[in-house]
């Protein structure tokens, strides 16, 4: 049963991923990306990563993709015009390079390999996935957790700096060449 579901989600994931990069309309791409994220969330659930699966839908497919869509709409982007030999050549090279990397990776993994040793601490059956995660986050992973707060702070500052409307301080003088404001 899980195998069949996995194959279903996987097919949906691959198909929607392909459409993300193939569809000329950015809005459609974004929507297919949402679909891809949802299928991924399904796969996470199959792997018993319930919390991650939920966060994937709420944060990724929800918040992040809304941001994407908002920007696309805000900029009023139309279908991309993809014509000309130059661009076609570039596309061809892109496909070739990507396929080669994939083939190499698959060949490599086709060799005998083994995942690492099992962790000695078996997850407690009684505790749910979310609870375990929470415990870990605030104990062993406390430091990286705090670092993420810095990362988010930087992101906030960055967005404020780059996207804020008010002009830069003291810009009363004439703009220098190359600065069209």
């Amino acid at each position: 049963m899980t195998e069949a579901l996995f194959i279903g989600f996987a097919a949906m994931l691959v198909a929607s991923s392909l459409l993300v990069i193939l569809h000329r309309n950015p809005v459609a791409s974004a929507l297919f990306l949402v679909l891809a994220f949802c299928s991924l969330a399904g796969i996470y659930l199959l792997f018993h990563a319930e919390f991650i699966g939920m966060v994937q839908i709420i944060v990724y497919a929800g918040a992040i993709m809304v941001l994407f869509l908002f920007v696309i709409m805000y900029l009023n982007l139309q279908r991309d015009e993809e014509g000309g030999v130059h661009i076609a050549l570039r596309r061809g090279l892109g496909w070739v390079a990507g396929t080669v990397v994939l083939a190499e990776g698959v060949f490599m993994l086709a060799r005998r390999w083994a995942p690492g040793p099992l962790t000695p601490e078996v997850p407690g059956e009684a505790a749910g996935n979310t609870q375990q995660l929470g415990m870990l986050l605030f104990s062993r992973y406390l430091f990286p957790f705090e670092v993420t707060s810095l990362v988010l702070l930087v992101a906030i500052i960055g967005v404020v700096v780059i996207a804020k409307g008010r002009s830069t301080a003291g810009s009363g003088t004439r703009p220098a060449p190359g600065e069209d404001g």
Binding site: R140, Y141, T168
Partner: protein, 488 residues
């Protein structure tokens, strides 16, 4: 839950974490102070940033001999951490001094600028101090995000914005590879901790395990991007050229050193016994990096861009040291990075002084005759160029001597020969700057030098260190050698 570890909050050694704490506090202070709006030419933010960096450096220096593993070994305070923390704080402080007047002239004198600079420094420190791939990744992202924004800080400036876009897109692209590599390494070893990884490898050797090889390779690629190793270097010239010059100075030094710090720690802590696998790859990267960097630099007319290619080439020399490995290899990498930091900050520092308000004069031809109109500036720039070119008796020469001798001891004769050949070629473009300074007449209006005390202080510090380490490098050398002991 009985299986879960007990909270470790009380065990934290706050001194060891002092640098990160100080920087975080400084960032918050900078932002909070914005409640009281400052003048356009206020020095407040710069002073706060400088004090913060000083506090961070001091707090680490205070416990420089201590050795701690905190947060269950995620954050390591050892000689390596101390060395790089001090390096980043020094580079950050010099960058603040160089920014002081430059940001006023370019109209980006905002508290956010300094806050981001401090965040990037914090990210670098976390990268160097982490003993776990998770924290390394987070540190790298912290640094990168701050730098993306700093590169694009002149948001009305087409070049600055373009540089930020390219740096950002390619940086995120490279992060994808890095992350995938970490994921595979996690799969191969069942852990992300470097120490645990090394322990796992003792039980089950990873030789020939494709998961491990692939993971390690992608990791090297990810760090290779940050240190701008060829062929993952393409963003470097564009980002360096478009960024505000003070930021170019900072990132060319800090981001590169941080990338190498993480690379060295990962390779030496976790992958010590499979190093033979990486040697051909890293050697190839080193050769390509040096050669492409130096040769492409030959024809540049923009000094910022030329220095960008030069910084690529320098990454190649450090890669030689990384390939050499062992105590001397790692120590020579640290040694090289410290010296490179000083001379490169100095070279970019001279550029930050050039030009009037909102004017950028960074073409080599802009330097024409500068050496006579401003002899001190000319001598300083000449010194930095000579040092970057590795001509004695400057620090750059000592750096190359140590790297090459470490590589020779490791039996890397071909690599050293190519390195020497490259440093011979490199002299040409460094000397072009000198030629412009002393042997050309300015076309059109000669470049205006905006003297500013903080920038001059930074330049004097760079000049003194470049000369001092060229004449007497033992102190730095001993420090570098002590610092890598924890890795072995």
């Amino acid at each position: 839950m009985n299986v879960l570890p007990t909270p470790v909050l009380l065990a934290v050694d706050w001194w060891a974490l002092g640098a990160v704490l100080a920087l975080s506090a400084g960032i918050l202070l900078l932002l909070l102070l914005e409640f009281f709006p400052a003048q356009a030419r206020s020095n407040r933010s710069a002073i706060v940033a400088l004090l913060t960096l000083a506090a961070a450096g001091w707090s680490v220096f205070h416990v420089r001999d201590a050795k701690r593993e905190i947060f269950g070994g995620m954050f390591v305070h050892d000689g390596f951490t101390v060395f790089f923390t001090l390096l980043f704080c020094a580079a950050g402080a010099l960058a603040v001094l160089l920014s002081w007047d430059y940001v006023k002239r370019t109209r980006i004198n905002q508290a956010e600028y300094y806050a981001l600079l401090l965040s990037a420094t914090a990210g670098m420190i976390i990268m160097a101090a982490s003993n776990d791939l998770i924290t390394i990744f987070l540190g790298l992202e912290l640094m990168s995000l701050a730098l993306y924004v700093l590169v694009g800080f002149q948001r009305h400036h087409l070049e600055s914005n373009e540089a930020a876009l390219k740096y950002f897109l390619l940086g995120a692209f490279a992060s994808g590879f890095l992350l995938y590599g970490i994921a595979l390494l996690y799969g191969a070893t069942g852990t992300t901790g470097l120490g645990q990884m090394a322990a796992v490898m003792i039980d089950s050797p990873m030789l020939g395990n494709p998961l491990f090889l692939l993971g390690g390779l992608l990791l090297i690629i990810g760090f290779g991007f940050k240190v701008s190793a060829v062929p993952f270097h393409m963003w470097t010239p564009d980002a360096y050229e478009g960024a505000p010059t003070s930021i170019t100075a900072f990132m060319s030094v800090g981001a590169k050193a941080a990338g190498f710090a993480a690379l060295l720690r990962v390779l030496m802590r976790a992958m010590g016994d499979v190093q033979a696998d990486w040697i051909p790859i890293l050697s190839g990267l080193a050769i390509l990096t040096m050669t492409v960097g130096n040769i492409t630099a030959l024809l540049q007319n923009n000094l910022k861009r030329m220095l960008a290619y030069s910084s690529i080439a320098h990454a190649g020399y450090v890669l030689i040291a990384v390939v050499a490995g062992g105590r001397d290899g790692a120590a020579s990498a640290l040694f090289y990075l410290a010296i490179y930091a000083v001379m490169n900050l100095g070279a970019f520092g001279v550029l930050t002084l050039l030009g009037r308000e909102r004017e950028e004069r960074v073409l080599i031809s802009d330097l024409a005759g500068l050496g006579f109109r401003h002899p001190a500036l000319g001598i300083a720039l000449t010194l930095f160029m000579i040092s970057l070119g590795g001509i004695p008796p400057t620090a750059g020469f000592m750096a190359k001597v140590y790297v090459f001798s470490a590589a020779l001891n490791a039996g890397l004769v071909p690599l050293v020969i190519i390195g020497v050949l490259n440093s011979v070629v490199a002299i040409f473009y460094y000397l072009r700057v000198t030629v412009a300074l002393y042997m050309e007449e300015p076309q059109g209006e000669p470049v205006y030098v905006s003297w500013a005390t903080p920038g001059v202080i930074a330049l004097i510090a760079s000049v003194v260190l470049t000369l001092w380490w060229g004449i007497q490098a033992n102190g730095l050398l001993a420090a570098a050698q002590r610092s890598v002991l924890g890795l072995l």
